[in-house]
């Protein structure tokens, strides 16, 4: 277990200077996520067009460096992708967090893969997987038009 693997440069950068942390213009879908155990909260704003392509995505919320970084990285990665592709990316992402599998997603550029990989350290900290996935699950809820808040504890 090495703390530097968890808090890699890219993660710290996104945690401190999150991208797309606002309400994006013209969003037509939104959802809330909440981790009641630690109080992390996230709200995802999504502009999904008729072809189910993510035209724009942003978030607001508060939480630990991991949850904010993950939300920020998500918005950068998902923007411009088809919803189905985004869902596949999330599957790979969760596999990386839980199983430690290497990330090499065809639909992503080398840089995007590298950025996503910066969160791979979470694997060694199982308690923090929820932090890293909260925004992603909230995005799925928004896209699928589910109204209830995403909760990490059920």
């Amino acid at each position: 277990m090495d703390i530097k693997e968890l808090y890699q440069e890219i993660v710290l950068d996104h945690g401190k200077n999150p991208r797309n942390k606002n309400k994006c213009e013209g969003f037509n879908k939104e959802a809330k996520g909440h981790n009641p155990l630690c109080g992390d909260k996230v709200q995802v704003f999504l502009k999904l067009n008729n072809d189910k392509k993510v035209e724009d995505i942003s978030f607001e919320g508060e939480g630990c460096a991991i949850s904010i970084a993950s939300a920020s990285i998500m918005t950068e990665t998902i923007k411009g992708k088809e919803f189905n592709v985004a869902k596949k990316i999330l599957e790979h992402f969760i596999n990386m967090l839980k199983e430690g599998s290497k990330l090499s997603i065809n639909s992503l550029s080398q840089d995007e893969n590298t950025t996503m990989m910066s969160l791979s350290g979470v694997k060694q900290f199982p308690m923090r997987v929820k932090c890293a996935t909260l925004a992603w699950h909230t995005f799925i809820h928004a896209a699928e038009g589910k109204e209830e808040t995403v909760k990490t504890e059920k």
């Binding site: 277990m1 703390i3 530097k4 808090y7 710290l12 630690c38 109080g39 630990c64 460096a65």
Partner: protein
């Protein structure tokens, strides 16, 4: 006092975590257990176990006696008037629920007021919320000031003819403030309002004397007193136990059962339905013996010394904000570090073997009041030393380093 020798009675400290010795600063959450407590449970199951209070065979008599000895010890420890005033519950949460439910059923009606404070743990708010929903009662919150205290005048202001109970913490699990319970009881008794004290943090760290405090109910969490999990105690004045209805129904708590009607015995039997956590209650007697051997005054003195040292050391770090600055503080230092979320703090500290808690500590209302969603909390026990504080301080510096703050 020889803290090293006291600490050596706790087997957990013989282990390493993440390759490091354990610096355990999460005692407000739960304390570690001395060997005598662990061994007592094992011995009870190996040599003395039977269900209690029912059968007449030798084992049943022995087990019952051991269980009841624990009640006697508790009675003596908190200076209750009689053993009937000690009710074993599964935890302090259940103790508070028991009062909210039974007292609420009998004495609280629509429009009546329950007076609590903004300091309260969810366990001393949610049960009253249920009552609010069920009976249409009103919950009033006495305000907490910037120092993390509830001024007695704030409580005084809210007491009126509709106030039916005051429920208040003895020692806040976030700001560490020790509340002036006796003064609050004096205030309440002018209007004959009963006072329930959430003693989860009070019982392990303060000298308890129910006659001196004068409160009507006192809820205790035994696992925070170096005891087993699954054991709580409700102290209640006998005058209440005589008039309040039973809580849960089941075996062991009845007098006579007929198709038409059921009668119930007195306390504590009336409130202890079903098979209890027998071995844990027996084990708990060793926790009380441990505390008495060390001496609660010595515990208080030692923890005060470590607390003062801790506050002093942590304040040296300019990036740290300590939550609250109460005049009377016990065993707890909650803090935030500028630019670092408490969960990240807890993870980084954990790498150095420093176990603290991060989150809202079941006090969302208080955190909101303080303008934060979460905090990090170091909380002390008898085995903590100045070395532990030094380890905490240097682990905090490591947070600054990792996050470049």
């Amino acid at each position: 006092m020889d803290i090293k020798s006291i600490k050596s009675q706790f087997p957990i400290f013989k282990n390493k975590f993440n390759g490091k010795p354990l610096i355990y600063l999460d005692n407000a959450n739960s304390s570690q257990k001395p060997k005598n407590v662990i061994d007592r449970i094992s011995k009870f199951y190996s040599k003395e176990f039977s269900n209690i209070g029912r059968s007449v065979h030798t084992l049943a008599v022995t087990a019952t006696n051991r269980f009841e000895e624990s009640r006697d010890l508790m009675k003596k420890y908190i200076n209750a008037k009689s053993r009937e005033e000690i009710i074993f519950t599964k935890n302090a949460t259940e103790a508070i629920n028991l009062v909210a439910s039974t007292y609420g059923d009998k004495f609280i009606n629509r429009g009546d007021e329950i007076l609590i404070t903004e300091l309260e743990h969810h366990a001393n708010y949610v049960p009253w919320h249920f009552l609010r929903q069920k009976k249409g009662a009103i919950i009033k919150f006495a305000k907490c000031n910037d120092r993390g205290e509830v001024d007695i005048d704030e409580i005084k202001k809210l007491i009126n003819n509709k106030t039916k109970i005051i429920a208040i913490t003895h020692l806040s699990n976030v700001t560490g403030v020790i509340m002036p319970i006796k003064k609050i009881v004096d205030l309440a008794s002018e209007k004959k309002i009963p006072v329930l004290v959430d003693g989860c943090q009070g019982a392990p760290h303060l000298k308890l004397d129910m006659q001196e405090l004068g409160c009507d109910f006192y809820a205790i969490s035994c696992h925070k007193m170096y005891g087993p999990t699954g054991v709580g105690v409700l102290y209640a004045k006998k005058k209440w136990l005589d008039v309040l209805p039973p809580y849960q129904g089941g075996g062991g708590m009845i007098e006579e059962v007929k198709k038409e009607s059921i009668t119930f015995p007195g306390s504590p039997t009336k409130y202890e339905a079903g098979t209890l956590q027998t071995a844990e209650v027996v084990g708990f007697s060793e926790s009380l013996k441990f505390i008495e051997d060390v001496g609660i005054k010595n515990i208080m003195q030692h923890e005060k010394e470590i607390l003062e040292y801790g506050l002093e050391e942590i304040k040296k770090n300019n990036s740290v904000r300590i939550i609250g600055d109460p005049k009377h503080r016990g065993s707890i230092i909650s803090f935030t570090i500028k630019g670092i979320h408490p969960h990240d703090i807890a993870t980084i500290l954990d790498e150095d073997g420093v176990a603290i808690r991060a989150g809202h500590h079941c006090c969302q209302i208080l955190h909101e009041k303080m303008g934060i969603s979460a905090s990090a909390r170091a909380s002390l026990g008898i085995y903590n030393s100045k070395d532990d504080i030094d380890a905490l301080s240097s682990a905090i510096k490591k947070c600054n380093k990792v996050f470049n703050t």
